[in-house]
Amino acid sequence: MNHELLELRGIGKKFPGVVALAGVDFTVRAGEIHALLGENGAGKSTLIKVLTGVYQADAGELRLAGQVIRPTAPKDAERLGISTVYQEVNLVPSLSVAENITLGRQPGRLGFLNWRAIRRRAEAALARLEVHCDVDAELGSLSVARQQMVAIARALDTSARLLVLDEPTASLDEHEVAELFGIMRKLRGEGMGIVFVTHFLDQVYAVSDRLTVLRNGQLVGEYATADLSRLALVGKMLGREVSAADFTNQAAAPAVATAPVISARGLTRRGAIAPVDLALQAGEVVGLGGLLGSGRTETARLLFGIDARDAGEISVQGGPVRIASPRDAVRLGLAFCSEDRKAEGILPNLSVRENLIFALQGKRGMFRALGRAEQEQLCDHYIKALRIKTADAETPIKNLSGGNQQKVLLARWLATRPAVIILDEPTRGIDIGAKQEIEQLIAKLRDDGMAVLFISSEIDEVVRNCSRVLVLRERRLTGEVAGAGLNSENLMHLMAGTHEG
């Protein structure tokens, strides 16, 4: 049964100036879930793209079920039985579920579509996954999780033997992840090989049978998941040994209670968040916990003036202030790193330098332009201090990896010397090394006397970094934990609404 389904031998791929992959072997057996791991820039995406025909390898050999293959386009790979679901759902939101599942291969003749066959096929594809949803519904009206299921159904609609899931869980909540895992296990049972790319280690251990680790375009090794401890895995990914101390809670409450730097009372927006009170002191990291959709981001957006609030007052340094736009907020010494780096963070075609100085320049206004020397000095400083990996400061930011883009955005805000910084999922979609660096940075900012509001879906991360956590559930503030009570169990109970009292 467990024969080799996919064998990649000595895969090499070069881009101008970069060796993305060098002599990588990768084997997936039929009937297994195989996790592909590595930091950003390790070569995961490139390997996936070679596999799915987006790129052609410069060296090496691909075999599927023993036969040499050379996919030259995604369509090619699909025909061979390799189907892919990408991180961002690549479907058409304005079309129906059935249309999306069959798009590009609709049954019909002479350019006329056979609608009945289309629906039947879509229903069959969904039934295979035991997903129940109306195939006539517009895709955009479904939750992201459901859209992901539809994307998988679409991938399986072809006669797939190998399914590639590229970070499918990035935008799913825990329940949805469990549902996805159920489907993955079912497909494994049917003898399909599944390649699972993820950043979440919990999920690797929850669902994968074996795993392959890449680092800097090279193969580190292939392991049975059960034989590799979590700490060892992290060590393999980072290329260094990690001590257990890296994961303990080092966040300390400020020694002396002082007047809050920023406080909000009765912050409300209909349909987004019920009245919330919060206060942040200088030198503390306060977490905003809760499941996806619990109102964390909504609260941050109200605080930063992105959305208009229906009621509530905000005070900065003790005095009431008017925050009607991000511009007001920035001028008052606030900073906000959005969770959606691509849509709300980076200026993709502008250089690292321009991205980095942008908020500071905005704060100064258009007439007090930063001189070129000053800009370069800022860039040098932050590229070094945050260890941003970029060819130089003039590279367009879109060419950087996710983790490095995030560091540039952090630098953008730090350059404005804010008193309060709101970090909404600052470690989402970035590799472990960058994650640790960002966590270290947060600790440093706290020690320097900045007030940090930290939003994260990863409970461990919240516990590690915060001295106090406000928990939101179903768009209202439901509790606060601090000190000894700040542990993942308490937090989970509060988030799930299963705590006592």
Binding site: I306, A329, F336, P348, N349, L350, F367
Partner: protein
């Protein structure tokens, strides 16, 4: 391979076209000094092209924000009409010019309000003024072509300063002024940022709507001044024909000059070259006696050619072809 400077292809196109003309007729490049004034085809191109250059300058900023202004041609007609009526009424040159620029600013503000504040799509918002503007111009001149008899006014388009035609000098000064105003302040960066990712710009604390509105207002002012030059050039306000299709020439000039219609990075020098390229082609057609009815065809071919050369995909394809040839 390093990416080519964005003005490489438009400049190459311009040079090729000039070369073609020179080969066809050696007199093309000839510039003579007559009564202390410069004359010749290149001088004509600069003088006649100055209006398109001016409109394209404003258009560059609007396109950088990710928008487009279709109303510039109509604004040219309106300002021409305003000038003619004021001059006919015996008003002075200063007042007339102030009124013309004011009209342009007002038109730009209307566009800016619709696009930046009310969130109307740029094409729709400026289409309103494009259509209504012609009617408004007709209304101002009461459907007549008004002849302008002010020599001071005419000087703006057809006069010479130290032997050099005045209009191109004025436009060059405006290009330089705009370039420095955008690059010495942070306004250039802000425009590019808004065009590249408006949401991110706003979230970083930028008054994105204000920046966008500013681009439309500046574009209106440029069109207003171009209206003055257009009316002065023919010594008349022709509400029906003035500035006709100018929006298209301006957009061509901007795109050919290397600024993408999707917004973001803008290339002011490229726009100037793009406008000159289009004017050179128009003049070439005229000199060759190509009937005006089919003149747009070569124009279109040229634009397709230059834009194709700028495309990365075609560049790679051509690069591959050359390598293959070199190998055999």
């Amino acid at each position: 391979m390093k990416p080519r400077h964005p003005v490489f292809w438009p400049l190459a196109g311009l040079l090729a076209l000039v070369l073609l003309n020179a080969v066809h007729d050696l007199g093309f490049l000839k510039v003579t000094l007559l009564d202390g004034h410069l004359y010749g085809v290149p001088v004509d191109i600069l003088t006649q092209g100055s209006r398109t250059m001016l409109v394209a300058l404003g258009m560059t900023l609007v396109i950088a924000t990710g928008g487009v202004d279709l109303s510039v041609g109509s604004v040219v007609a309106i300002t021409g009409a305003v000038c003619a009526v004021l001059l006919q009424g015996g008003h002075g040159l200063t007042l007339t010019l102030a009124a013309a620029i004011g009209t342009g600013l007002l038109a730009g503000s209307a566009n800016g309000l619709l696009v930046a504040r009310l969130g109307v799509q740029p094409i729709v918002a400026t289409l309103i003024l494009m259509v209504a503007g012609r009617g408004l111009a007709q209304l101002i001149v009461d459907g007549q072509v008004i002849i302008i008899k002010s020599s001071a006014f005419e000087y703006l388009a057809n006069g010479f300063l130290l032997g050099i035609p005045f209009a191109p000098l004025l436009v060059t000064a405006l290009y330089l002024g705009t370039h420095f105003a955008l690059r010495r302040t942070a306004l250039g960066l802000f425009l590019e940022a808004v065009g590249d990712n408006e949401t991110a710009s706003r979230f970083a604390g930028l008054a994105a709507a204000r920046i966008k509105a500013l681009a439309y207002i500046f574009c209106g002012a440029c069109a207003g001044l171009a209206g003055v030059l257009a009316a002065a050039n023919i010594r008349a306000a022709d509400a029906y024909r003035a500035g006709e299709n100018m929006e298209l020439d301006a957009i061509f000039a901007v795109v050919v000059g290397g600024t993408a219609l999707t917004g973001g990075r803008f290339v002011i020098l490229g726009t100037a070259i793009g406008a000159l390229l289009i004017q050179t082609l128009t003049t070439t057609m005229y000199n060759l006696g190509v009937p005006p009815a089919i003149a747009p065809v070569p124009k279109a071919l040229l634009i397709i050619g230059v834009t194709l050369l700028q495309s990365d995909k075609v560049g790679r394809w051509l690069g591959g072809l050359m390598r293959k040839k070199a190998a055999t």
